[in-house]
Symmetry: C2
């Protein structure tokens, strides 16, 4: 404890000393998004409780949260299953995300905050520097980028919604290896958006964000035909 306590206190949040249930929830969430747990796969409470040597209760609680996020489906007396990706839902969610993030980027463009621009450029640099194939690292930096923009606009609620939508879209991206293949392309789109924000050109920023978020529309049909049984509604 050599740092000044003032700083610690400011940044201190009750920490929620992560319960086992919450930890498991985060773990399984990432596992589903990154395709470690496959769409349609059954995951029972007892199986998980044995694997992690915990009781059923925290597993149940993790499952409930995953079900609320539509990442699993609990079918009573049958089992709990990793949800297949609903094409309809991904498109519907993507549409909403576009509306949200376009409106956010418009607001941010009106602000002219040099510190924000620096921070975003820093993130883009880090994105380019991620190890090839390390989709997880790129994903986190992508997440951080969109979050920074949203929170800078004071749109916390909008970010929470976007976060949830992003989870569904990232499931598709992980299947498509988009992160690995088009790392520089995506980072380039980010850079263009930041340039437009810096220039205060809201219309351009909005247009670029729109294009950025429509990338998945081209990817989706390809992935669906490649892994048809990971999807529903097609």
């Amino acid at each position: 404890m050599k740092n000044s306590p003032e700083v610690k206190i400011q940044n201190f949040l009750p920490q929620e000393s992560q319960s086992i249930g919450s930890q498991l929830h985060r773990l399984l969430r990432a596992a589903i998004i990154e395709g470690e747990l496959l769409p349609g796969q059954i995951i029972s409470e007892i199986e998980m409780s044995k694997r992690f040597d915990i009781s059923r209760q925290p597993v149940r609680e993790a499952f409930i949260k995953l079900a609320e996020e539509r990442l699993v489906e609990v079918r009573p007396q049958r089992g709990t299953f990793v949800r297949k990706i609903s094409v309809k839902e991904v498109l519907d969610a993507r549409h909403l995300r576009e509306i949200i993030e376009v409106s956010i980027v418009r607001e941010v463009s009106a602000k002219h905050d040099a510190e924000l621009i620096n921070r975003l450029r820093q993130l883009i640099t880090q994105q380019k520097e991620t190890a090839p194939g390390d989709a997880h690292a790129f994903l986190e930096l992508d997440e951080e980028m969109h979050r920074t923009i949203a929170l800078h606009a004071g749109r916390e609620y909008a970010w929470r919604v976007t976060e949830s939508i992003k989870a569904q879209m990232n499931r598709v991206r992980f299947l498509s290896f988009d992160f690995a293949q088009s790392k520089f392309e995506l980072a380039g789109e980010h850079a263009a958006i930041v340039d437009a924000i810096e220039a205060g050109n809201a219309d351009l920023a909005a247009q670029l964000m729109e294009k950025h978020l429509r990338g998945i529309l081209a990817t989706l049909p390809r992935v669906v035909s490649q892994y048809p049984d990971y999807f529903t509604d097609n």
Copy 2:
């Protein structure tokens, strides 16, 4: 079994025979929104399990769902509390809702569906006919109205988000007695929106929806000063 089996089979859904935990969740959700459980009030797992003669587990599961909706806050080793209404969060959520519903009403205006218009006018009539002071009944019809419009636009995901935002906003409305006092005013706004949709006037419909959703901005400060300890962030 006199109906044709084809129709039955198509409409068959497993029905999800509501578990105790889910039932309790719905019950408590309504109780919090309608002010039966007060902001800041403590509600322990054991208390609830005794009151409804059930075990702690389903109570915990109901609490988790309420926490995800930000209607309660679970503070480990301290207790579970009905969340005070965050003014900042209500404004932030309202802002998002405006963006969502304005975009939806624009889409619907381009559709020209006579059946939809009839259904909406029917709902407005029912809204006017609710018993004076029966805020619960009006609320359900209001919910049904916004839901019908959203789902007609095929925006299921957007509706789920709106539903969650609406919960926070309705907490304020219930405190303000807005439903009782301005039942006809609100129904009138609905009617104007439906007229604009029917006329295919997307700009007008959007403008009216915007105005409709900004009503709470006038209400909020009044309610905050009337019940200061039900709120945070003011």
